[in-house]
């Protein structure tokens, strides 16, 4: 069940009594890697980069999640990407880093509903309870690398690369139906 991505438009893919999976609207995604003194970068971004893995920060429409000791993923509206790239370019000489536009690389599933957290246990070996609301993790879902954002008790976003998305989506759809069929 690896159908091609017919549409990049936001849409509900499946909704059951247990959970709903939809595709988020496209946006800018920037992979940032840097080390050492962060304030100049923070100033350029207008946001204090979180320094603990899994923590997130937000300034306006710009969101950042810390994925590794010197790695972040930035999400922003599409139109803001050029602005962020040029602001960071200005401090490149003093604060060398890598900022790569990966907007075309990934897509995001929005997963919510009363049993959204359980739905994730179909493919995620990590303890979902251990991800606090407002945090996130880079982890694996059914063997596929994903970034999981926990936006609420029962509300998540999952980023994955385009070619893996149909596989991930297929299992999420099976899970939505399976959980809805359960009597608890």
């Amino acid at each position: 069940m690896n159908a091609p991505l017919h549409s990049f438009e936001p849409s509900v893919l499946i909704e059951t009594a247990a959970a709903r999976v939809s595709r988020a609207a496209p946006g800018a995604r920037l992979s940032l890697q840097a080390r050492g003194d962060l304030p100049p970068l923070n100033a350029a971004l207008g946001l204090d980069l979180p320094t603990r893995i899994g923590r997130r920060a937000r300034a306006g429409a710009l969101e950042a999640i810390c994925l590794g000791p010197e790695e972040w993923m930035l999400h922003a509206p599409e139109a803001q990407a050029v602005e962020i790239l040029s602001a960071c370019a200005e401090v490149y000489a003093s604060r060398p880093r890598s900022l790569v536009d990966v907007s075309g690389r990934e897509t995001t599933f929005v997963i919510d509903g009363p049993r959204a957290a359980e739905l994730l246990t179909l493919g995620c070996a990590r303890d979902i309870d251990g991800i606090a609301v407002g945090e996130g993790r880079r982890t694996a879902f059914d063997g596929v690398t994903v970034i999981l954002w926990r936006d609420g008790e029962t509300s998540f976003r999952m980023d994955c690369w385009h070619s893996f998305a149909p596989h991930v989506q297929h299992l999420l759809e099976i899970g939505c139906r399976e959980l809805a069929a359960e009597t608890i």
Binding site: V100, L122, R177
Partner: protein, 996 residues
């Protein structure tokens, strides 16, 4: 209803009769019955034939340890499962159950001749009986043994059921919901701890379900149980029934299989049949209880001979009397209680035969009160009956001498050889065991996991002892998690504590060499087989096990291991711990393949990655091939074309005008930072310092060993930014290798890596008209040799899309690779397709790409290299930066072996008869040699080539580059083909075709 059901007994529902079929015959049971209990309620003990001797067998147990009563179960077409334990399968209206391993019928089976010929089938029989003549093994013996032996028949249709899996995290996992497990759960369910209690049975309770006479804290056992389960649920304990903990893996990972639908009359929608739970528990309490052992004596396998504890369970849990005239043979107190329960339910207990000289006075008094004859210091030496036991032969034993036999008529024999603590999961943790002489069994000692073991599974006996120990262990695991567990104390009345002795095979006055005293029922291993194994030189229990197959059946020796050890130790004259215990391995009980596969079957078997252009290719009739996880278009046949003709047409059109190719799957890595060029110099064999921004270079990546790992064209986008491409299959591997060096070897470098494989969709356009086609689409770059020479790159706009444009060629023609953000891939493809129509553009696939590159002698890593090929071997030594101080593989390439003469080198081959060689075919210098000839290389690539006018091949040949023009030979099954060694560049060696 038959006379074997006792009204008012058991937990079955008398108001809900359930009909099912056994071997085609309609059988009535009650809701709550298993197949075994329902058949026993109808007086049916015969349920199967044994594995080797085809002896008639009935259930010997009442739970998942059952070795004999294996049945096939069917639920309509495709839904057939062999080897299901009748003692576990719950009945539902319409269930079709069949007995196994019988022909033509269960009652009269032709395979039972094996039983008469048992002398042929002693331990190790297949090593001895079927040794000669050697040629008979494959054609006669093995097919015969395979047909005659074995259990059920494998299902032949695709399984229509679905299977599921989930992860579960908890603070405390308790395996076994008997008294010890229940008490542990109650004690640990405090202060938000996530407690999970799991049991393989359809309902929780364990022993309590079979011992309703007990009174716990002033309530009947069953009232206490239901109140306790409600309290546990109220305290947040998750109770999972029909769920078997099958294996205990590293760091408290426990595999559990939940059966969801096998007991249901109708299959609910969207519900899997089974679910594998992968549980990570901070603390584990193992409360698996103990399993009863049979006694080993001649005829101890006849239908009607069963464990006393099983008879007690059938009576108290299912309301079924297994026989009206049972005889008891025991070495443990527990069977006495079973006798009392059966007597109280109306059975005429024929006798209690105990191997022991002394038994508690209280038991003797109870027996006397019921008028049951008691025979102490006795042995059982035989049974009679064909399809059902009719009598038991017993003898007194005085001072080790077996006295005169006499016969006890009976319709069932209930035996107990004591109890074995269930240490399976504990063993999986690599826990150590200690031999206990008093209990004659192994007890758990230490484990490296965060795990405790409670109740009967560590040798404690009786409900009160189990409750107390369970509560203690529950508090202990809570304390380990920093919480104070609940204090509880339980008073149990009418408890049945007891003791017993453990026996080897029972003493007999009959010829022991003719005794069929079974130790392992499922593999038909007898006591004399074990003694024979010792006589024939087996010393370790591991050898005895393999020679006799004792404990190697699907029940994993749950009943046979300790009896087998006792007998082997006796035969060796050693103590049991010196002989040892075999290892228990997961799974605890037989587990379906479906449960292991989970969701990964059919369309979800594994990830299939597709590019954005894949759908276009499908619409245009492409034939696909898998490349790593990707599926790629291999060629685009027109109606009536086979692969060769389609590929030939695609090649010709590309070289004549222009072709287009989806190169999106190529790995891409963005290397960024002030030290990016230094990093590239160290990783790749080539020099990068002098490569100007806007230019590209072929990059070659080696391992430390100096062998080729990957290659690709690399563009320098700016001073500090490289666009690296890798092979399709190598993308993840190359990034991991680079990250490894970056993080561990050179953490001082200011450089970072980002995978951009899926950021870019890539369309390759090749052919003499490629520039002409693209020029109108490209803004910001003039596509001329002066402005944008071969091996250039630029960021620009193509067909209105932001793009990275590379002028590179993997075909020898004028070539471009256009990268646009992935979501725009199809739009770009279609724009090029439209623009190419006036030029007669063809889409081509990987097969044509392979031919075009082979005509130019360009290697494909992994096809023309195999991990032992150096750059020099491949004829691309020019890609090594000789003045660089170091790079990955530089030292490796200087090793004596890698600079020695006579290494296999990549060359071209042209066959003299103009036939196409087979890829992988071996090459020899002298075809007149005797077989086996000395092989000097092999064909790595081979294609028909229209451009060259004959088939071409690439090959690795010893010293090949010094053998230009020489003839080599390729022996094939039908003939030997001669071929001439040539340069690997077959077409346009001067690269004239690259010019615009």
């Amino acid at each position: 209803m038959s006379g074997f059901r006792i009204p008012g007994k058991g937990r079955v529902d008398p108001a809900t009769p359930v009909s099912f079929r056994f071997d085609g015959r309609k059988v009535r049971g009650l809701r709550g019955d298993t197949v075994a209990s329902a058949l026993l309620a109808n007086g049916i003990h015969l349920m199967g034939r044994s594995f080797k001797y085809h002896r008639p067998r009935g259930p010997v147990a009442a739970g998942s340890e059952e070795p004999n009563a294996l049945i096939g179960t069917r639920r309509g077409p495709g839904r057939y499962e062999p080897n299901t334990r009748a003692t576990v399968q719950e009945i539902w209206p319409g269930l079709e159950a069949t007995s196994q391993n019988k022909y033509p019928s269960l009652k009269w089976d032709i395979g039972a001749v094996n039983d008469a010929a048992y002398m042929l089938f002693s331990a190790g029989f297949y090593y001895k009986t079927f040794m000669w003549p050697r040629s008979f093994w494959d054609r006669v013996y093995e097919p015969f043994i395979r047909a005659a032996a074995g259990l059920g028949v494998s299902p032949s249709r695709e399984d229509p059921d679905s299977y599921a899996s989930r992860y579960l995290h908890c603070d405390v996992l308790i395996v076994g919901a008997g008294p010890a497990g229940l008490a542990a759960a109650r004690a640990a369910a405090v202060d938000g701890l996530r407690v999970v209690l799991v049991d393989e049975n359809a309902e929780a309770g364990g022993t309590l379900l079979s011992e309703p006479q007990a009174r716990i804290d002033g309530r009947s056992a069953w009232d206490w149980l239901s109140a306790e389960l409600a309290a546990l649920k109220a305290n947040g304990v998750r109770i999972m029934t029909r769920t078997t903990a099958i294996g205990y893996y590293h760091q408290n990972m426990i595999g559990m299989v939940e059966k969801l639908t096998d007991h249901l009359p109708d299959l609910p929608a969207d519900t899997p049949r089974e679910r594998m739970w992968r549980v990570r528990a901070k603390q584990v309490v193992l409360a698996q209880g103990a399993l009863e052992k049979p006694l080993v004596f001649h005829g101890n396998d006849r239908p009607g001979v069963m464990l006393a504890g099983a008879a007690q369970t059938y009576l108290n849990r299912y309301g079924v009397l297994v026989g009206r005239q049972p005889a008891i043979v025991t070495s443990h107190d527990s069977a006495w209680y079973a006798a009392f329960d059966l007597a109280d339910a109306g059975a005429r207990v024929q006798a209690i035969v105990d191997t022991r000289a002394d038994v508690r006075a209280e038991l003797l008094a109870e027996a006397e009160a019921r008028g049951i004859k008691v025979k102490l210091s006795h042995t059982a030496t035989a049974t009679s009956g064909r399809l059902r036991v009719k009598s038991l032969r017993v003898n007194p034993v005085r001072d080790g001498k077996v006295g005169t036999p006499y016969t006890i008529h009976c319709d069932t024999v209930l035996m107990s050889g004591g109890w074995t603590p269930s240490l399976h999961l504990f063993s999986h943790t690599r826990g150590s065991l200690a031999w206990d002489d008093d209990l004659t069994t192994f007890l758990p000692k230490d484990t490296p996991e965060e795990c405790v073991i409670a109740g009967a599974s560590r040798g404690l006996w009786g409900i009160e002892a189990a409750l107390t120990d369970g509560a203690d262990k529950g508090r202990a695991v809570a304390a380990a998690l920093g919480k104070a567990g609940t204090e509880t104390a339980h008073v149990v009345e009418a408890d049945r504590p007891g003791t017993g002795t453990s026996e080897k095979e029972l003493p007999t006055d009959l010829d022991p060499s003719r005794a069929k005293a079974f130790v392992d029922y499922q593999n038909d291993v007898t006591a004399k087989d074990l003694r024979l194994a010792v006589r024939e030189g087996m010393r370790s229990i591991e050898h005895v096990k393999r020679y006799t197959t004792n404990g190697m059946a699907t029940d994993q020796g749950k009943m046979s291991n300790i009896n087998g050890l006792n007998i082997a130790a006796d035969a060796l004259g050693k103590k049991q711990p010196q002989v040892g215990l075999t290892t228990f391995r997961p799974p605890y009980t037989p587990t379906s393949f479906g449960a292991f596969a989970g969701y990964h079957r059919g369309a979800h078997f594994e990830v299939t990655r597709k590019t954005q252009i894949d759908a276009w290719a499908e619409e245009h009739g492409a034939v696909f091939e898998p490349v790593g996880q990707w599926r790629r278009a291999r060629y685009f046949p027109k109606p009536g074309e086979d692969m060769d003709s389609a590929v030939r047409r695609e090649c010709v059109a590309t070289r004549a005008s222009v072709g287009m190719f989806d190169a999106s799957t190529l790995g891409k890595i963005e290397v960024v930072g002030p030290d990016a060029v230094e990093f590239m110099n160290r990783m790749y064999t080539n020099p990068w310092t002098k490569l100007a921004p806007g230019r590209c270079r072929y990059g070659l990546l080696c391992g430390d060993d100096g062998f080729i790992r990957d290659d690709g064209v690399i563009g320098r986008l700016s001073q500090d930014r490289f666009h690296v491409t890798t092979t399709t299959g190598g993308a993840a591997r190359v990034l991991n290798m680079m990250e490894d060096y970056r993080q561990t070897e050179w953490p001082d470098l200011q450089v970072w890596l980002t995978s951009t494989t899926e950021q870019w969709a890539t369309v390759a356009v090749n052919g003499p008209n490629a520039a002409k086609l693209l020029a109108p689409l490209v803004e910001g770059v003039e596509l001329t040799d002066d402005a944008f020479p071969h091996m250039s790159c630029a960021e620009c706009t193509v067909a209105g899309m932001p793009a990275r444009l590379f002028r590179i060629s993997f075909t020898g023609e004028i070539g471009f690779e256009i990268n646009v953000p992935t979501p725009m891939g199809r739009k770009l493809w279609e724009a090029v397709w439209q623009a190419g129509q006036p030029f007669g553009i063809v889409p081509y696939g990987t097969e044509t790409m392979h031919v075009l590159r082979a005509e130019k002698g360009y290697i494909v890593v992994g096809q023309d290299t195999d991990g032992t090929v150096t750059p020099h071997d491949a004829g691309i030594g020019w890609a090594i930066g000789k003045t660089k101080p170091d790079f990955v593989g530089k030292r490796g390439m200087a090793r004596p072996d890698l600079v020695a003469k006579g290494r296999k080198q990549l060359v071209g081959l042209l066959t003299e008869d103009r036939s196409r060689l087979e890829e992988g075919a071996q090459i020899v210098f002298d075809p007149a040699q005797k077989v086996p000839m000395k092989m000097v290389g092999h064909v790595t690539s081979s294609y028909l080539s229209d451009a060259v006018g004959r088939p071409i091949a690439l090959a690795l040949v010893e010293g090949g580059q010094d053998r230009m023009g020489e003839t080599v030979h390729i022996p094939m099954p039908d003939r030997t083909i001669a071929a001439t060694i040539t340069s690997s560049v077959f077409l346009d060696p001067d690269n004239a075709r690259l010019k615009i």
